[in-house]
C-alpha cells in the first residue's frame, strides 16, 4: 500500500538545517534527509541517535587480538614447542606485534561490516533515487504524511520560508526510501 510523502528540495546546507530545525520544532520529524556530503549539525537537528558502530569495532578488535594471542601461545607452547636455549615457550613480548596487527585488522572489518549491515548497503544494490542531483548539489528533506494531522500548507510554508526551491508530493511504498 502506498503512503504519501512530501519532498522539499534545497540548494544549500544552511537552509536545509534551518528548515529541519523549524519542522522538528513544529512536530514534523523528517523521515530522512538526503545530502551530497555529510552536513555537520544536521544529524543533531534530525535527532538521530548515536550509532553503535564503535562498539562493534571494539568487540571485533579485542576478540581478534585475543584469538591471535591464544593461537600464538598454542603454536609456540602446545602444538610444536621448540626449546631455544631454555627460553620461555610463551614469550609474550615477541607475540605483541602480530597480536596488535591482527587486532587492528579485525577492528577495521568489524567497523566496516557493522556500517554496511546497519545501512543495508551491499555491492550491486539498486539505489533509491530521491532526486537525480542529490549526489551533486541538492539537499532533500523527506516527510511522511502520516494522517490527517499533517497540515500541508503549514509544512509547505515552513519549507518555503527556508528557501526551498522545489516541493513535491510523492506516493511511495513505506520503507522504499531505505
Amino acid at each position: 500500500m502506498a503512503e504519501r510523502y512530501m519532498l522539499a528540495v534545497f540548494d544549500d546546507e544552511h537552509s536545509t538545517i534551518a528548515a529541519v530545525n523549524d519542522l522538528v520544532a513544529s512536530g514534523y520529524r523528517p523521515v530522512d534527509v538526503y545530502t551530497p556530503y555529510a552536513v555537520h549539525g544536521l544529524d543533531r537537528a534530525m535527532g538521530l541517535s548515536r550509532t553503535k558502530i564503535a562498539m562493534a569495532c571494539a568487540i571485533a578488535g579485542f576478540l581478534g587480538a585475543g584469538a591471535k594471542l591464544f593461537f600464538q601461545y598454542w603454536v609456540a607452547a602446545v602444538d610444536w614447542p621448540v626449546n631455544v636455549g631454555g627460553k620461555p615457550l610463551f614469550s609474550l613480548p615477541a607475540f605483541v606485534p602480530v597480536t596488535f596487527e591482527v587486532g587492528v585488522l579485525l577492528a577495521a572489518f568489524g567497523a566496516v561490516l557493522a556500517f554496511v549491515w546497519t545501512s543495508r548497503l551491499y555491492p550491486g544494490k539498486e539505489h533509491f533515487v530521491i532526486h537525480p542531483r542529490v549526489t551533486d548539489d541538492r539537499f532533500v528533506v523527506l516527510l511522511e504524511e502520516k494522517d490527517a494531522s499533517f497540515e500541508h500548507e503549514r509544512v509547505r510554508a515552513l519549507c518555503m520560508k527556508n528557501n526551498a526551491i522545489e516541493i513535491e508530493e510523492r506516493p511511495m511504498r513505506p520503507g522504499a526510501y531505505e
Partner: protein, 455 residues
C-alpha cells in the same frame, strides 16, 4: 563563532567554487577520456613496467644469483627498495588518517590521491620480499595454515614474520579506508553516467543514496578507520625497523630505529606526495583545489620531518661514540669516511641540508623549487636505506671477510620496474577514479570564505 575566525585565513579552495562546480571539475576528467599529456606520462611508465617484468621473469627463472650479493653483503638492493617503498606509503596514511584526527581541513584536497599512492607504494614494496624468497610460488608458506609438514608453523618470534603481518594488514586496512572514502564519490559519478559505466559504478557504489542516516554512520566508520590507521602506520615502519634493530649488527642494533624510521618514512612519503601532486595539478588542471596553501603545508611537514631525520643521524653518531663500543664506533666512522662515504654524504645533503631551503616562504611558493627539492628528498631517502643496510654489512667483524657491493643491471631494472608499476597504477587511478574526495571538498568549501549565514 569559530567559523568567523576562519575568514582570517585564505580560502582552502580557490575560484569561489560551488558544490556543482566541484562535481563537474573532479568527475569531468574521468568522463572525458584522456589527453595527450596523460599518454605522454603513461607510455613511459608502461615501458618501465615492461622492463621490470622482463627483469623479474629472468631472475625468478635463473635465481637470485643474478644479484650482486656476496657472502658478506647478504642484504642490499632489494631490501633497500622494500623499505623505501613502504616508507613512501606512510605519508598517504599520515594525510588521510592522522591529519583527519587533527582536524587539518586542507588534507581533503590531497587525501584521495595520497591514499591511492599508499596502496600502490605498498604493492611495489611487496614485490621485493616476494622475489627475494627465490621461489615466489611458495610465498604462501609465510602464512600460518594447517599443513602436511607437521603442522609446521611459522615462527611468530621472527621480525620478518611480523613484517608479513604488518604489511598485509597495512595494505588491507588502507584499501578498505580508501574504498569507504570512495563510495559517496562513486555514487556521484554513477548519477552522471549511463550504460555499462553506470552499471559498473552502481555495483561499486553499493546502493549509496545520500541518506543522512547513512552519512552519520559513515562519518563514524571513517573516524574509526582513521583512529585505527594512525597507530597502524606507526607500527608498520617500527616493525620494518625491527628487521634491523633486533639483530646484533653494529649500525642496526639501536633503539632509536622505530621512531627514526617512522619520521623518515613520513619525510620521504611527503616528498613523493608533492612530486605526484605537482604533476597531477598541472596535468589534470586542479589548480583551484591544490592551492599554494596545500603545497606550503606539505613543505613545512617536509621541513619538520627533515629536522627529525637530521636529529636521528646526529643521535646515532653521538650514541656510537658515547657507547665506547669499538664495533659501533667503527660502523659509523666507516659510513661517513669509508669507501661508501659518497652514499652517506648524498643522504645527508639531500635529507638534511637541501630541505632547509623550505625555511623561506618565497621558496615554498616557487613550484619549480619545491618540485626539485622533493626529487632530492626522494633520492636522499632511498640512499638512507642503502647506507643503513649496505655500509653496516660490507665491513663486518672480520677484516678478511670485508667486501663491497655493486648492483647488477637486473637489480637496477627491477627498481625501474617498480617505479613503472607505481606510475602506471597511479595514472590509471587518475584516469578512472575521482582524484579528489568530492564529498569531502564540498563540506569544506566555506572554509575561509565570508558567510552571511554564520553566527
Amino acid at each position: 563563532m569559530s567559523d568567523s575566525l576562519l575568514t582570517l585565513r585564505p580560502p582552502l579552495i580557490g575560484g569561489r567554487k560551488t558544490p556543482g562546480d566541484v562535481t563537474t571539475d573532479v568527475a569531468g576528467p574521468t568522463e572525458r577520456g584522456v589527453t595527450w599529456k596523460w599518454w605522454a606520462a603513461f607510455l613511459p611508465a608502461l615501458a618501465m613496467l615492461g622492463l621490470g617484468f622482463v627483469a623479474i621473469g629472468y631472475q625468478v627463472m635463473t635465481g637470485i644469483g643474478t644479484w650482486g650479493l656476496n657472502r658478506t653483503v647478504g642484504w642490499a638492493f632489494d631490501i633497500t627498495n622494500f623499505v623505501f617503498w613502504v616508507g613512501i606509503g606512510h605519508a598517504g596514511t599520515l594525510i588521510s588518517a592522522v591529519l583527519f584526527l587533527l582536524r587539518q581541513k586542507w588534507r581533503t584536497s590531497v587525501n584521495r590521491s595520497a591514499e591511492a599512492m599508499t596502496l600502490f607504494a605498498v604493492m611495489c614494496a611487496g614485490i621485493f620480499p616476494l622475489i627475494h624468497m627465490g621461489r615466489p610460488w611458495l610465498a604462501f608458506w609465510v602464512l600460518p595454515y594447517p599443513n602436511t609438514r607437521g603442522s609446521l608453523w611459522v615462527n611468530f618470534r621472527s621480525p620478518l614474520l611480523w613484517d608479513v603481518f604488518a604489511i598485509s594488514v597495512y595494505f588491507i586496512v588502507s584499501a578498505v579506508f580508501w574504498y569507504i572514502g570512495l563510495i559517496p564519490d562513486l555514487a556521484t559519478l554513477r548519477d552522471r553516467a549511463s550504460g555499462l559505466r553506470r552499471k559498473l559504478l552502481a555495483f561499486f557504489a553499493i546502493g549509496w543514496n545520500g541518506s543522512m542516516r547513512t552519512w552519520a554512520r559513515y562519518e563514524m566508520v571513517y573516524l574509526l578507520l582513521a583512529g585505527l590507521a594512525t597507530p597502524l602506520v606507526l607500527s608498520v615502519h617500527s616493525i620494518v625497523s625491527f628487521d634491523f634493530a633486533t639483530s646484533v649488527i653494529p649500525g642496526w642494533h639501536t633503539t632509536i630505529f622505530p621512531p627514526y624510521f617512522v619520521a623518515g618514512a613520513i619525510f620521504s612519503g611527503m616528498a613523493m606526495v608533492l612530486t605526484l601532486m605537482l604533476i597531477a595539478r598541472s596535468v589534470m588542471g586542479l589548480e583551484h583545489y591544490l592551492t599554494h596553501r596545500h603545497i606550503d603545508a606539505m613543505c613545512k611537514l617536509i621541513l619538520a620531518t627533515s629536522g627529525m631525520v637530521g636529529l636521528a643521524y646526529l643521535t646515532e653518531i653521538f650514541t656510537a661514540f658515547y657507547s665506547g663500543n669499538p664495533y659501533e664506533q667503527f660502523a659509523f666512522a666507516n659510513r661517513a669516511l669509508g669507501p661508501m662515504a659518497w652514499a652517506y654524504w648524498i643522504m645527508v645533503s639531500c635529507n638534511v641540508l637541501i630541505p632547509q631551503i623550505f625555511w623561506f616562504r618565497a621558496m615554498r611558493r616557487n613550484l619549480m623549487v619545491v618540485f626539485i627539492i622533493a626529487i632530492f628528498v626522494n633520492i636522499g631517502m632511498w640512499f638512507e636505506r642503502f647506507v643503513i643496510i649496505v655500509t653496516s654489512l660490507h665491513r663486518d667483524f672480520l677484516p678478511s671477510a670485508w667486501s663491497s657491493y655493486t648492483p647488477t643491471p637486473i637489480e637496477v631494472a627491477t627498481l625501474i620496474g617498480s617505479f613503472g608499476l607505481f606510475f602506471t597504477l597511479f595514472l590509471i587511478f587518475c584516469r578512472f577514479l575521482p582524484m579528489i574526495a568530492i564529498a569531502e571538498i564540498k563540506g569544506v568549501l566555506h572554509v575561509g570564505r565570508e558567510e552571511a549565514h554564520h553566527g
